[in-house]
């Protein structure tokens, strides 16, 4: 894997090559602009992206200059702001939301010396890499724990948008739960927003009133859902960064993402001039996805099984999306013994059997 090689490149070597390449202008730091869809808070998606630059700052110090552009609405404003950031001399652009895709791609095509990393997209160019986390590897493990702790056998998920990234996290969550209790049912509320705490709380309350007693906060940027669950006394978990302090009693855990290794490797490669755009779909094996802050309520024997499964996912001997998998409509999704490829997973637009709510069409 090329990426691993980048990781091994030491910071000093990279700086040395940067100085060599830039000659007299070596004193100019490398400009990195990070565009965020929501304010940079204490938790959540934007926070995770900002934290992902910490290893870069640690390695390069004053040789990099980071510009944070928070709360940028997707659309023509984002296009202008990204264009301006590049015109100001930033050479690495991290576009932190799917909706920036078209504008960011135009920038990458206009200026080959700029490296663009784009969250959750599907377009690729020589200087443009989309990146996404294999959340499903973590949510599968969460599903196992959820099924063991649920009394009603009904699980719920408050989910942002019905895009493959989130659909697969719900599917893997369901499959993980079914591996412990085959009769488990999962209900989903699509809130169609990345950031609307009031709406998200309403959705969580609706799921709880339907009898769901473990809630999956799927891509919310605030502890909205987690806080409601703590109040109602039902278990909850979320993605990206730990929200345990908002639900000390009923927090099930966090499928955390750490973009540090990926950002560091990409910026090393940019400086060394070896960056090659590719679809970066990263998971447990890449140390990008990790489940943290497990609840102490999980039975010890199941916890042992979860740890074992996690190890198998990490070494590649287990793929949560291995057949037989039946689709929610009853047709065959994956044949017995066949594992879905990354390409199939990033394009997944159907739910597995056990997800009670149909996908919005």
């Amino acid at each position: 894997m090329q990426r691993r090689a980048f990781l091994q490149t030491t910071a000093f070597a990279a700086i040395a090559s940067a100085i060599g390449a830039r000659g007299a202008s070596a004193a100019d730091p490398l400009g990195i602009a990070l565009v965020l869809p929501s304010p940079n808070g204490d938790v959540g998606w934007s926070h995770t992206l900002v934290a992902g630059l910490d290893p870069v700052i640690a390695a390069y110090g004053d040789a990099v200059k980071i510009t944070l552009l928070e709360n940028i609405a997707e659309g023509p404003d984002a296009d202008r702001i990204m264009t301006k950031a590049v015109a100001d001399g930033n050479k690495v652009l991290i576009a932190g939301s799917f909706g920036y895709q078209n504008g960011a791609m135009q920038i990458a095509k206009r200026d080959p010396s700029v490296t663009v990393l784009h969250a959750s997209g599907y377009m690729v160019a020589p200087n443009f890499s989309p990146f996404a986390a294999k959340y499903f590897q973590g949510t599968y493990l969460m599903g196992m724990a959820a099924a063991a702790l649920s009394k009603s056998g009904k699980l719920g998920s408050v989910s942002a948008f019905a895009i493959p990234e989130l659909i697969t996290s719900i599917n893997a969550f369901t499959l993980g739960a079914q591996s412990v209790n085959p009769d488990v049912e999962v209900s989903v509320v699509w809130v169609n927003t990345w950031f609307d705490p009031a709406k998200e709380q309403e959705a969580a309350k609706a799921l709880i009133s339907q009898g769901c007693d473990v809630i999956f906060s799927n891509a919310q940027d605030t502890p909205s859902v987690i806080a409601v669950c703590e109040e109602a006394g039902v278990y909850a978990f979320n993605l990206n960064s730990s929200m345990k302090s908002y639900a000390p009693k009923t927090y099930l855990g966090c499928v955390a993402t750490d973009w540090g290794p990926f950002f560091k490797a990409s910026i090393d490669a940019h400086i060394a001039g070896t960056f090659a755009g590719a679809n970066a779909f990263l998971g447990v094996a890449d140390k990008v996805v990790e489940v943290v802050d497990w609840s102490g309520d999980i039975p010890a024997d199941l916890k042992a099984k979860i740890v074992e499964t996690e190890a198998k996912i990490a070494d590649g001997s287990f793929n949560p999306f291995t057949g037989p998998i039946t689709k929610a409509d009853g047709s065959e999704g994956v044949a017995a013994g066949v594992g879905m490829t990354d390409e199939e997973i990033v394009a997944m637009d159907w739910h597995v059997k056990g997800v009670a709510t149909p996908l919005p069409q």
């Binding site: 602009a33 304010p39 510009t67 944070l68 552009l69 928070e70 709360n71 609405a73 997707e74 659309g75 023509p76 404003d77 984002a78 296009d79 202008r80 702001i81 301006k84 950031a85 015109a87 100001d88 799917f98 909706g99 078209n102 599907y122 948008f161 019905a162 895009i163 493959p164 659909i167 169609n192 990033v346 394009a347 637009d349 919005p360 069409q361």
Partner: protein
């Protein structure tokens, strides 16, 4: 001891000119303290905020690009505001305009020809006006408050947009992301200024200012509007129809906002997506009042608002200013300006000692 505001007999022209400058000075002073406390370089921040939008062709062209929709919507709204018909729902009419315009490239993605973008503009204007029919009808027939109805129609419009993007109009190749296909070349409005994103719709916005001026200052219809707003009873006595004013106000407002929505999807965006409006419909209300509801004043105020937005973005990118501080600056400038303009038109009168403050 609460002072009262009394309207001046004659506003001083000198103060009217000075007021915006004083407001700017006050905003700079207050924010200077804020920026210093934050450890930012105030010179760099104010340069990015206030000067950079006007220096350099590329950033000024972006100001013009943002001026277009603000100007168009605000001109439409101001006509109604002068007749005291408060259309707060330009945002929804903007969205419907964008949706109606997008119908052509969404259903005929392969179509070619120079007729496509003009047809989209016409569709957009019709869509916006149609969305304004509901509040107009309810106000005239059922006496339902148009402020509430137009506002709520905006929420419905946002949901209609969501529905289309998540369902029937979703790009089949778009991995389920809520957005339409990218529009074909002929569905894009031709660029007016080469090398920028400014398209021909800017001329439409400027034309709207001329038309609004001609209508309000030079026609009997415009006079009826003005009287209806200033003295409704007198207007009724003179036989000016109130329901006609309501219908016209809302339809013109919807028409202009819809046109702006169409120009946005057929212009800088090039597809229908969730983020088509960054609050243009609401910002235009401020623009209309900042411009004194006067067609020429609105041209100036829409330019100013657009420059403020661009300057704010610049400050975030170039001067490392957090988004919250940018909003504080923009907000304080507006507050100081409104305060200054109030003192131009009114004077403070203290209950005991008269004429104490000015």
């Amino acid at each position: 001891m609460i002072p009262r505001l009394i309207r001046r007999d004659r506003a001083s022209l000198r103060m009217a000119v000075l007021a915006p400058l004083l407001a700017l000075a006050a905003a700079i002073l207050v924010n200077l303290v804020l920026f210093l406390a934050m450890g930012k370089d105030p010179a760099a921040v104010f340069y990015a905020l206030l000067l950079e939008p006007f220096l350099g062709w590329s950033s000024f062209s972006e100001v013009l690009l943002k001026t277009g929709p603000l100007l168009l919507i605000a001109q439409g709204l101001a006509i109604g505001f002068r007749a005291k018909v408060f259309n707060i729902g330009a945002e929804g009419q903007f969205i419907l305009g964008a949706i109606f315009a997008s119908a052509i490239p969404v259903y005929f993605p392969q179509a070619t020809g120079g007729w496509i973008w003009p047809a989209m503009l016409v569709m957009g204007a019709l869509g916006g006006a149609l969305w304004a029919v509901v509040p107009a009808f309810w106000r005239v027939r059922l006496n339902a408050n148009e402020i509430l109805v137009t506002l709520m129609m905006s929420l419905i419009a946002a949901q209609v947009l969501n529905y289309l993007l998540l369902g029937p109009w979703k790009d089949p190749q778009g991995f389920n992301f809520p957005q339409s296909v990218m529009f074909q070349y002929d569905a894009m409005i031709p660029i007016l200024l080469p090398g920028t994103r400014v398209n021909l719709s800017l001329l439409l916005a400027l034309l709207s200012a001329v038309l609004a001026w001609a209508y309000m200052q030079r026609s009997f219809g415009g006079y009826q509007f003005l009287v209806g707003g200033l003295a409704p009873k007198a207007a009724a006595y003179a036989g000016f129809s109130e329901s006609r004013a309501i219908w016209l106000s809302l339809l013109i407002g919807g028409f202009a906002a819809g046109l702006a929505g169409a120009a946005e999807v057929a212009g800088p965006i090039g597809q229908l997506q969730r983020g088509i409006s960054t609050g243009y419909g609401y910002a235009a209300i401020i623009v209309a009042y900042l411009g004194g509801l006067h067609p020429i004043g609105i041209v100036a105020s829409s330019l100013l608002m657009a420059a403020l937005y661009i300057g704010g973005d610049n400050a975030m990118v170039s001067a490392d200013l957090p988004v919250a501080a940018v909003r504080v600056f923009q907000g304080s400038l507006l507050v100081f300006y409104l305060a200054a303009i109030t003192f131009v038109r009114f004077r403070l009168v203290w209950p005991i000692r008269k004429g104490g403050a000015a």
